[in-house]
């Protein structure tokens, strides 16, 4: 079949939507009219063919990363490797753990190079690359589970903060998790770093051997999964408060370790309604209940 990426503005006329195969990006920038047009065109140009570039090296991208050496050629592929390499000595991790963040960064890079933008983001299914000029700020909403929308928290990232990447990982995601977290959101210097770190922290939130946790070899679910025969989490039964606290503590320990090594700027960990926050400043702990009548209905949330 002839495959053409989907490139177009969203219904609001502001945000750009780019989709090709499993890649799905929401892009928004603020700048002059000509700057915006140039940036969106640059994003679209870079997007075309990007999936093919990645797929050309797919077998290598699905192998455990070598912590010392990068055999990959493509810019995005090398960025993926660089993001996971710091973890590769201690953990099984493949460059695929950073694919979403690395793609977001690549598109954002193309935009920022082509025009002067006050601020911009590229959101790849929750893995987000940010650009902020001096004095600019983003507010990021955190949702633990897409099917339990009631609770939402926010965090704020200003131009003075080091973070330019946000990523969320968890067992409800499209990629498999070795852990049991509902969501791990990480702020890091880059989106690919945040993506990789969220995976590592998500895997650390676990209760090995717990009878209420159902696991299954990844390749039984997806024959070509990069996780091979590793057991991925399929279902988590009800856990006691004590067990939730234990699992979250294991994840928080991992997050603090990464924080100390400068690999992340902060993290929010969520499991069965409980949240643990590591070094996330400006984290709005007050639950913002959605949807509420005085808010605009969220597109895509309230529907049949």
């Amino acid at each position: 079949m002839r495959r053409a990426p989907q490139i177009g503005l969203l219904a609001d006329g502001r945000r750009l939507h780019l989709q090709d195969g499993p890649i799905d990006l929401i892009v928004e920038a603020r700048g002059s009219e000509t700057g915006l047009a140039a940036a969106y065109q640059a994003a679209a140009r870079r997007f075309i063919g990007l999936l093919d570039e990645l797929c050309a090296e797919l077998p290598l991208l699905r192998q455990a990363a070598d912590p010392a050496r990068c055999p990959l050629q493509g810019t995005v592929a090398r960025r993926m490797h660089a993001a996971v390499a710091p973890f590769a000595a201690e953990h099984f991790i493949t460059p695929m753990a950073a694919v979403a963040g690395a793609v977001a960064e690549e598109i954002l890079g193309a935009m920022v190079q082509s025009a002067r933008l006050a601020r911009a983001y590229v959101n790849n299914g929750g893995d987000i690359a940010l650009h902020l000029e001096d004095g600019e700020r983003f507010t990021v909403g955190l949702i633990d589970r897409p099917d339990a929308f009631g609770l939402m928290r926010t965090t704020s990232i200003g131009s003075g903060d080091p973070s330019r990447g946000v990523a969320t990982s968890g067992r409800h995601g499209r990629s498999f998790s070795l852990g049991i977290a509902d969501a791990v959101t990480v702020l890091a210097p880059t989106a690919s770093q945040a993506d990789a770190a969220a995976t590592i922290i998500g895997n650390a939130i676990d209760l090995p051997g717990h009878p209420a946790i159902i696991r299954c070899p990844a390749h039984d679910l997806q024959p070509d999964s990069d996780l091979g025969a590793r057991l991925v989490t399929r279902d988590v039964g009800e856990l006691s408060d004590h067990e939730i606290a234990d699992a979250l503590a294991a994840g928080a320990g991992c997050a603090r370790h990464l924080l100390a090594k400068g690999l992340i700027d902060g993290a929010a960990l969520r499991l069965q309604g409980k949240t643990v926050v590591v070094a996330l400043k400006g984290f709005d702990a007050t639950a913002l209940l959605l949807p509420v009548s005085h808010h605009r209905p969220m597109e895509g949330v309230l529907h049949a």
Binding site: M1, L51, D127, T139, H172, Q222, D224, G300, A304
Partner: protein
């Protein structure tokens, strides 16, 4: 199943297929989806998994939605000439080729620039209303209805000759345990796709429900729905019984009718028989609660009809008096004569009375299960169709916009929002899908005049001529509504 422009490569291993929709070239196992969550392996066939959501995301992501004018009455084809209709089924496959995005990232919330979330998800507010044509007692009102032991809905009101079940809804889909949600989703999808589902009612019957098929109650297939309540049956057949029998009792769980006391009998000057009914007399010749509800005669639990009678009044009754007892479907019938002690003794039924019983049967329509899918088309869907969503609602209410589901006509429930019901037997096979949230996905289309669409604030830039679409679209004949369930 759905129109697909993507080919499939057999991958040696017969149960695994390889998708070539994109260069990732996923191997997909049966029952699983590829990396994009968009193509799945259904029994060795590559299919799109969630047509409704695809459309929904298409519109909520500004994807090009294609409204068409359909002039005059729809002739039952999904795509037809000269006026053309396009359904949402497979909307994402044929056009636009579009992946269900993690749509929440495109959500806008006041004061929040973007949202980070694990993945996409769907909120589902939908369910099915099941009408089971039977007089048999399926269970008390509000009793829990279970599938595979999980609560999936409840018994609601009994209507004329039918028992209604209300299944699904957000409470069972997402409000209970995970298993409850999954089982509910499976049951709803199977029912909507005209497959049989066994339902167990707390304190009641086990019933196998399949849209367009007779219900199977406790292992027995129901044949007919009743001709009317007991009283109505008396009214309908009084003249035919007149002169052939002295007394008729139509046994009914709701209203048992007695010919000699009934207004219809009085008008024919039928003499008092001295009969004494159990139960509570409502008006002359009409009795409530002659027996407990059940799966016996006329929806009561009795197998011996004489058990609803007291002793005949010796002042009025006479030996040799003849009596017909019959259920509201004619399925049960017996003929009696009073002996010297005024005891009813069963005798062979005279031919002309047998004929009247057959006439009752003949006038009973075939008992069926009917499944109406019911869902609300909320914010996002409307927002995708127009930049001022409420205008779409108003347009639907003013009948300027026609709503259909998979090309089938729907009933739009008045009031707020766009809540619609559709007879699932009128949709093409496999029109309903699900996502693991769990939630059901169903097609929905809005059809309106182009000028009305423009007036709504529609996305005119994306209106596309049909010619550009048709080459990729399968033309399908809808099942005849007179033969529901045929495709099941």
């Amino acid at each position: 199943m759905l129109t697909d422009t993507t080919s499939v490569t057999a991958a040696g291993n017969a149960d695994k297929i390889r998708c070539d929709a994109c260069p990732v070239m996923c191997y997909i196992k049966p029952g699983a989806a590829g990396a994009c969550d968009r193509y799945a392996n259904h029994k060795g066939e590559l299919v799109r998994v969630d047509p409704h959501i695809v459309l929904q995301r298409t519109v909520s992501h500004g994807g090009r939605l294609v409204p068409f004018q359909a002039g005059g009455d729809w002739d039952g084809k999904i795509v037809h000439e000269p006026s053309v209709f396009v359904t949402a089924i497979g909307a994402g496959t044929t056009y636009p080729d579009y992946k269900p995005a993690p749509f929440i990232v495109s959500s806008e919330v006041e004061g929040v620039d973007m949202v980070t979330v694990v993945t996409e998800g769907i909120f589902s507010y939908c369910g099915v209303k099941v009408k089971i044509d039977t007089d048999r007692h399926l269970g008390p009102e509000t009793a829990t209805v279970r599938a595979q032991g999980e609560a999936v809905g409840h018994v609601t009101t009994g209507e004329y000759g039918s028992q209604m079940l209300s299944l699904g809804g957000v409470h069972h889909l997402t409000g209970g345990s995970k298993k409850e949600g999954r089982v509910t989703c499976d049951a709803l999808m199977d029912l909507s796709n005209c497959k049989p589902v066994e339902l167990t009612i707390d304190g009641g019957a086990i019933v196998v429900v399949q849209a367009g098929r007779p219900p199977i109650v406790n292992g027995v297939a129901e044949e007919r729905m009743r001709v009317g309540c007991g009283s109505a049956t008396i009214g309908m057949f009084a003249k035919q019984w007149h002169g052939k029998v002295d007394e008729v009792v139509v046994v009914d769980d709701h209203i048992t009718g007695v010919l000699s006391e009934h207004q219809a009998g009085k008008l024919l000057d039928i003499a008092d028989s001295g009969i004494k009914m159990k139960g509570r007399r409502s008006t002359p010749g009409r009795y409530f609660q002659v027996a407990e509800p059940g799966t016996g005669w006329g929806g009561t639990r009795i197998s011996d009809p004489l058990s609803v009678l007291g002793p005949f009044d010796p002042k009025t009754a006479r030996p040799g008096l003849t009596m017909l007892m019959v259920s509201t479907t004619g399925e049960h019938a017996a003929y009696y004569e009073l002996d010297a002690a005024l005891q009813p003794i069963e005798k062979a039924m005279p031919a002309d009375l047998k004929l009247s019983v057959e006439r009752i049967q003949e006038n009973c329509e075939p008992a069926l299960c009917t499944v109406l899918f019911m869902g609300g088309a909320g914010g996002s869907l409307r927002a995708g169709v127009t930049d001022n969503p409420v205008r779409l609602t108003r347009s639907v209410k003013q009948a300027l916009t026609r709503v259909t589901s998979g090309g089938a006509p729907v009933y739009v429930w008045p009031g707020g929002g766009i809540t619609f019901m559709v007879d699932v037997t009128r949709l093409p096979a496999g029109a309903f899908g699900y996502v693991p949230t769990p939630a059901l996905v169903a097609p929905i289309e809005f059809t309106m005049r182009l000028a009305d669409y423009a007036a709504l604030g529609g996305h005119m830039d994306y209106v596309r001529p049909l010619a550009s679409l048709k080459d990729n679209t399968e033309i399908r004949q809808m099942p005849e509504s007179s033969d529901p369930g045929r495709r099941a």
